[in-house]
Symmetry: C2
Subunit: 189 residues, 2 copies
């Protein structure tokens, strides 16, 4: 007595592996359902039983990744009451390092930046909340502006990090991000 849907889970895994492997070779736009199924050794009809098209499939996979990511991040985010940007950053970067293969597919040259933005938005909101406590006299719009900026900055750092083969440790990267967020130009002195 195995889980119900155990079989579909297996074929979905095959399809997912095929997709990420193809995504390493070329952009999503030139990946066809046909070749995807051929690589996955799955009947094309079976694909359409689960997904509407390749984009729908990636959407669903990303939703799964998102859930996994939140599940991994939630404990560390909720453990610290006074969550400052630096603290969260270190944890987020750590999470990314542990899921490097997934990140490559989404943050890589053929990846989907919207996904990364969506994921990081969670940490952003959490930090904003505790930031309001730390700077009660700061304008709300100002806080939002600040976090928009540093979120974009962090994503850019991650992209470069992945691009360069993740040579530095996540701690190093987080430390640099922390300092820039805190001191701005003072980072260089």
């Amino acid at each position: 007595m195995k889980n119900p849907g155990h079989r579909v889970q297996a074929t979905k895994r095959l399809l997912r592996e095929a997709l990420t492997s193809l995504l390493a070779e070329k952009p999503l736009r030139s990946i066809t359902v046909k070749e995807l199924c051929e690589r996955a050794q799955i009947n094309r009809g079976t694909f359409y039983a689960h997904y509407a098209d390749v984009y729908d499939m990636l959407d669903q996979i990303e939703a799964d990744m998102e859930a996994d990511f939140y599940a991994a991040l939630e404990p560390v985010l909720s453990s610290a009451y006074d969550l400052t940007p630096p603290t969260a950053t270190a944890k987020v970067f750590q999470c990314l390092e542990m899921n490097a293969d997934l990140c490559r597919a989404t943050l890589g040259p053929h990846g989907d930046r919207e996904f990364a933005t969506r994921v990081i938005e969670t940490a952003k909101k959490r930090c904003e909340e505790s930031c309001v406590r730390f700077f009660p006299n700061a304008d709300k719009l100002q806080i939002e502006t600040y976090f928009t900026f540093i979120t974009g900055g962090c994503i850019a750092l991650m992209e470069r990090w992945l691009k360069d083969g993740m040579k530095e440790s996540s701690e190093m990267l987080a430390a640099a991000a922390e300092q820039i967020m805190e001191k701005g130009l003072g980072f260089l002195q």
Copy 2:
């Protein structure tokens, strides 16, 4: 005696207008050559005389935009010898404000982020160069990290700005960006 290629320039303009108008409605991936030509009132065969496919067309258009952008930016960038990030930022944001319609197509939800990154890379490099003069004892890698971060941050601010309908002035936005770049968290105090 008109310019040579005056005619092809006209059809290209029609195609470009059709593309940007379609790009406001849906993502590039679901725009077909057929409907593009129908909207532009251009024969499909004519399209293939100029472009290989829709992606190739966007590439060429973006290359044009890039050239226009540089042409507009170059004088302000080269005028100031001691180009600090803040100075450049103000100018770049100003440029974007003047080309709002073009920006919408490339920075919008269906746009091409890589293009924005590529464009802004120019200003980034310029600033990096003069930054080396200001902070001679700072590590080169550190400088690169800093600029990667703030470039990403600025793009994020622009995206939000466009998304919210460009209500604030480019000066306001640039001023905020400047302060964050310079003071980091101190921006909120």
